[in-house]
Amino acid sequence: MSALALDRVGVDLDGTPVVLDVSCAVESGGWLAVIGPNGAGKSTLLRAVAGLLPHRGTVALEGVDTRSLRARELARLVAFVPQNPVLPADMTVAEYVLLGRTPYLGYLGGPGRHDRLVADRAADRLDVARFGGRRLATLSGGERQRAVLARALAQEPRLLLLDEPTSALDIGHQQQVLDLVDELRHAQGLTVVTTLHDLTTAGQYADRLVLLDAGRVGASGAAPEVLTAALISQVYSARVQVTSDDRGRPVVTPLRGPEHNAGAS
């Protein structure tokens, strides 16, 4: 049974269909990257899976329709990291990570010893425990992203949804964060679904890609099947060259158009 299965999922925003008839599946422990041009519906699809937007069709987690789950039950299975998480300036890192335990707490209850233990472990895993007492406002971009991931991990989810997890990071920190996510899914059997802007990166980390084109699935499969120069130039209206790295993964290189050489005679 798939960890996550979408069956003819559609989402409307203000009455306009933004995602249409998307069907795809991810195996447990797999990494699915949702790619596509701006406005193709990547984030909308992810938000629908997270339960933030109503949708048509079915989203099933390990065979269970998410609509049959209460918000708290869903939050124990799915952690969602938005593209721009809200980090309360004066909250400490430790307090923030502990928020990940919210779906496990009763309405009147507070976090217990087990909750603190899980949160501490998550903070350790992402190497933010050593600055647990610092205010969130003082963190660098990479540290913030790790703190947010630690909070998501404290939810002990089965499925981790990351919306453009690397958009605010430089190339080194991008790789660090994605390596970390990869490590987590192998160590904890997490299933990962990300939207990713960078096509080469998507091909390097995800084991399956879904290319959205105007809300519909334009192509899906392993990286070499989806990341072809023909498909990319058609969907993105871009000029690219696709080569392979030493492990056979596609490398997408943008090519600039005809040069207007003003100095030529």
Binding site: G51, A75, F80, P88, M91, T92, E95, Y96, T102, P103
Partner: protein
Amino acid sequence: MSASRRTVRAYGTAVAFLAAAVLVSALVGAADLNPWATVAALLDRLPFIDLHAGLGPLDRAVLFQIRMPRIVLGALVGGLLSLAGAGYQGVFRNPLVDSGLLGASAGAGLGATVAIVYLGGIGPEAVPVAAFVGSLAGVAVAYAAGAAGGPGTATLLLAGLATGMFLTAIQTLVLQRSTQDIQQVYSWLLGSLATADWHQVVEILPYAGVSTLIVLVHGRHLDVLSVGDEEARTLGMSPGRVRLLVVAACALAAATAVAVSGLIGFVGIIVPHAVRRLAGSSYRVVLPLAMLFGAGFLVLADTLARTVLAPGELPIGVVTALIGCPVFVLILRTTRSVRT
């Protein structure tokens, strides 16, 4: 580890501050009470403590029938206003909102004015009841208007602003048509605890208790809400329900305070702000600490109100505004420097 030590120290400071405020207020006034005898008489009232105070019958009456009811009522009012301010700040994720928000003050002002101008025949009891009802009605109208404009806190704040201006306009109209009541209306609007007695204390206790309990229970929920509605939902929380419950309880707390004291501003802003400086930003700690510090602050402010112009009195709302305005400006400056 250090965070919890910080919390313990903050609670210790809060209790000491409140105790000191009560003591100062009990000792200051027209009648000169012997400090040691006063302390002994107060301690004697605590459970398990039996002391012979040595206060004469007249001094006892001054302490227990005049000063203490006013101190206790002031402490309750200050605690409720600070709690409501802190609660609203959590709901709206904005440290600059006050307990008079969402049409609460304007509604209370209109209610009290209508009672003074038109319901004078019923007797003075009509004023606090009308202020209480007006305050709650103001918040209800603002909430309904804001909810109609869609989800989110900005709409709600704007709806509150519009409601407040509308209610104030009506109140001004009522007042303008009956100028003979202006002085009485204004003395109510500016706030006073001069008529405090034990009866008032007992009357507001149930409302104070219920609203306090509901707000305090939601401290953790307000912490979750600080990451925004959307992320709070992905953590399994229902932001709309929490917001409605906390706003309702804060409105009840503020209306209870306003009913017995008139309009007292700034307490709900500056006290929670000071508490955050002292004990961090978690609402689980900020809410109870704001109550304790707010109680002490208002007792001290009222002591100033009744002594500075003795035997006359300053309106307590003027005292809190004179202290609160400069502090508010200070908060604006420091908050901005944190944000950038």
